[in-house]
């Protein structure tokens, strides 16, 4: 048995602590204004970070093979939760995604992401020989994913939904599904997006706004312009910690989706380089662990987790810097959000455990 992967653990901890600092720096203005308590978001995030790190350490000690055994139970529990949230969830920012517990909120779709990865890994492991057969091997799991996606979209939470779908697709690719099939999926995906746009035309406006945010600076282009106003003036070295101007009510809720803008503003290009490097290092380390893992279930699990992490991170960054339309995806480790942080750290715990078991 290999020992604990210290570099990975340290990078995760550093990134999360930096996230905590940035959550405070970007949120205190709004927190003071809204709740009369500048530490409101900091306190909550701090609690979840401690909880998350403990969880990560505990999870890293739990043999990942246990998830194989309990995967259906975990999946079923999460499935029930994402249905329940549609009925008894609390609505925030127009989405019914949370179970409110006091001032805290639990976001079941975040848990579903991990559950789905575990479930898919087991599925792929069990149906190894059928995976070449689209009908028999691939369609069932895709169908299930689609159902989950639709359920999440009912909240609606497009960001989490798309990440979940992409995570499964990535896993299927690793599991050996024919590339041609992915092409067909891509076409289906595009058709699906077109369908979604027809269903709700505001999405088209969002998509178009990212191409040229200045055409509608006060409407659909607003967030991206405000984000660019934060990133641009940051320059090479930024205004320094705490000195962001955009967090002064210009950028709405800067501690969530657009925390990276505030990081750019306060730490400049150098800060961006360091944060990106940490992300890439964590992803790189995790993929290496996945590659090394000889147990197929473990390999799939690790890959799934990495895919979700990498996809979420790159999607968030691309949105923030205006490369993709606004989707509503948080930045792992850094953005404010208890459930997201807890699940991300827990998944890292799994990776750490797989790493430990690698020879």
């Amino acid at each position: 048995m290999k020992k604990f992967n210290i570099p990975l653990f340290i990078s995760i901890t550093v990134l999360s602590l930096f996230g905590l600092l940035m959550v405070y720096s970007s949120s205190y203005i709004w927190a003071e204004y809204k709740y009369n308590d500048p530490y409101k978001y900091l306190k909550s995030q701090c609690l979840f970070l401690i909880l998350g790190i403990i969880t990560m350490l505990i999870v890293s000690k739990i043999d990942y093979k246990k998830y194989y055994k309990y995967s259906s139970k975990i999946f079923s529990a999460c499935f029930i939760l994402i249905i329940l949230v549609l009925f008894i969830g609390t609505e925030r920012n127009g989405s019914k995604s949370w179970f409110g517990i006091g001032s805290f909120g639990i976001q079941p779709s975040e848990f579903m992401k991990l559950a789905m990865i575990i479930f898919t890994s087991k599925y792929l492991y069990n149906n190894k020989k059928d995976i070449g057969n689209i009908k028999k091997g691939v369609l069932p799991i895709l169908g299930l994913t689609l159902i989950i996606f639709i359920l999440i979209m009912l909240q609606p939470d497009f960001g989490t939904g798309i990440i979940l779908v992409m995570g499964v697709i990535g896993l299927l690719f690793v599991g050996g599904v024919d590339l041609k099939f992915f092409l067909k999926i891509a076409i289906l995906g595009i058709l699906g997006i077109i369908g979604l746009i027809i269903a709700a035309p505001y999405r088209l406006k969002r998509i178009l706004s990212f191409l040229n945010p200045w055409t509608d600076p006060l409407g659909s282009g607003f967030q991206i312009i405000q984000s660019l106003y934060a990133i641009g003036p940051g320059g090479l070295f930024g205004f320094g910690l705490g000195s962001s101007r955009q967090k002064h009510f210009y950028l709405p809720e800067p501690q969530t989706d657009f925390i990276f803008s505030i990081i750019s503003e306060e730490f400049g290009f150098m800060g961006v380089l360091i944060v990106s490097s940490l992300f890439f290092f964590i992803i790189y380390k995790s993929i290496k662990i996945a590659l090394k893992c000889e147990d197929l279930f473990g390999k799939y699990l690790a890959f799934g987790i990495v895919f979700i992490l990498a996809f979420q991170a790159t999607l968030n960054l691309s949105v923030v810097i205006g490369l993709l339309p606004v989707t509503g995806v948080t930045l792992p480790f850094l953005s404010y959000g208890g459930s997201s942080l807890l699940i991300t750290l827990a998944s890292m715990g799994i990776i750490l455990n797989i790493s430990k078991q690698n020879k």
Partner: protein, 625 residues
Amino acid sequence: MKITLLIIFFIFIVIILRVFYIEVIDYKKLNKKASDLWSRNLPVGADRGIIYDRNGVILADNVTTTSLVVIPNQIKNKKETAKKLAEILNVEEDVMYKHVSKKTSIERVHPEGRRLSYEVADKIKALKLDGVYLVKESKRNYPYDTYMAHTLGFVGIDNQGLSGIELTYDEYLTGEDGAIKYFSDAKGNKLSLNEVYEEPQNGMNITLTINNEIQTSLERELSNAVTKYNPDRAIGIVMDPNNGEILAISARPNFSPNNYQDYSLEEINRNLPIWATYEPGSTFKIITLAAALEEGKVDLNKDTFYDKGSIKVENATIHCWKHGGHGKETFMQVVENSCNPGFVVLGQRLGKDTLFDYIDAFGFGKKTGIDLNGEATGIIFDRSKVGPVELATTAFGQGVSVTPIQQITAVSAAINGGTLYKPYIVKSINEPETNTVVKETKPTKIKQVISSKTSEKVREALENVVANGSGRTSYIDGYRVGGKTGTAQKVENGRYMDNNYILSFIGFLPADKPEVVVYIAIDNPKGTVQYGGTTVGPLSKAVLKDCIKALNIKKADGGKEKKYKWPDPKTLTVKDVTNKEIKEAKKDLEGFNVIVEGEGTKVTYQSPEAGTKLDEGSTVRIFTE
């Protein structure tokens, strides 16, 4: 499987490159836009450029005033603030409330809060109200008030040039306002970040070709003319004939640019020296004379002419201004006497095309191109419609219509050696801090109209006019003055008006090498002889005398002695009578009014001193022990 790692790596590189683009390449643009978003500007008014005369005398500058500015977002108690401000400014409370509650980042309290007195400003300052600011604003000031008002022009409430040089050179004179920039959050609250002071960039200074000493003289004389004759209009221009520089320019009626609102638009907008268009009368004869001399059509001293008081041209009879005519005269005398039939003959000798070619060449019928707005073109006969009668009248200045600036520019060319210059008034434009020349006007030669030989002959003839002829009232002892009078009947609805003339005089000195040309025209003077020499001559003489001082022109020898003519007073030279017996002295000073001071018998001192020329009957004081 490693391909996934590569793909992820690639995506990260794209992201980093994009951030690099935003933060480094696009930095300037975004930073500027974001800065505009974050910062609120308290304006700091820039000073408008100063206008100087050629010797550095300030003709237009600025006085600093204070204006009230409010930032509605920072005003917590709008009612209270509005009430207090309204009290001090003495305006309705709801008017002020509208200002302080306006949905704007910054509101200039206009017009109630503009240009506040120190007293009011102090009261407002003492209140220490949130979101209420006093900012510096500069106001245009014209120290010489009405001086050359039309030419300088004036500015509006926001210091924008509205007429004259203020308008034509507005882009140079206007500075760039600075600001005190402070940062604010999206709700308008002031952030505790450092304020940035952006220094205003003052406008550029303009130096004119004007000589304020001469300008003062011209203004004084025009005012005198107004007091004495109550004319409809009075116009004066002083020019350096050797380069087209305007040394003085003015007109009546005028206005005060400090209070331009009190005048009618018509009074303000018409810059008469370049806008007024009228028949020049005899001053135009200089053009005919120059053309005839250049073409060799006349020898002034040898050729003679018999003026019987009128001349028949086709079916029309053209009268000389002098009833009965001048009799037999040389052409020099024709010029001296300003004899109309004589000039008709010169016109006929030249012929239609030649005369009109010269009129064109001297710049009539088109704008001179002076750097002022509102210039008129004047009206010259359409050549195809010129018959013998039109040719005849044009030759002595009737039937054509010119502007004062055309007149003085053309005459300058006739006497300066023959070169027509483009007149100009802005000498240079300078950067205010370093005084670097941004733009400089150099004299512009338009063309050589006549030869310098011809020009010399014209000068001589015009010097004779002042010494012997109709321009005698402008004779200055010890200086060589040339000039020409003009009397033009005004035309209304195509008919000459009775007893309504524009009297003018154009004079220059020194006659052998002119340094300055003065043109003065008085439109419809009341209660005087309607004749240029009598009315305008003394005015231009006074201006010319001041030019002598201002330009430091030396006394000259070789001038023409002024011919004695009734009713001109005779001038006598005061003899040296010191150390002479009183009786003897009185004899020597015959023709003067001698006053003896003291009880002695011998003269010890005399005033004025010997050698002074005085009019007959002037007082000479002699002092005894």
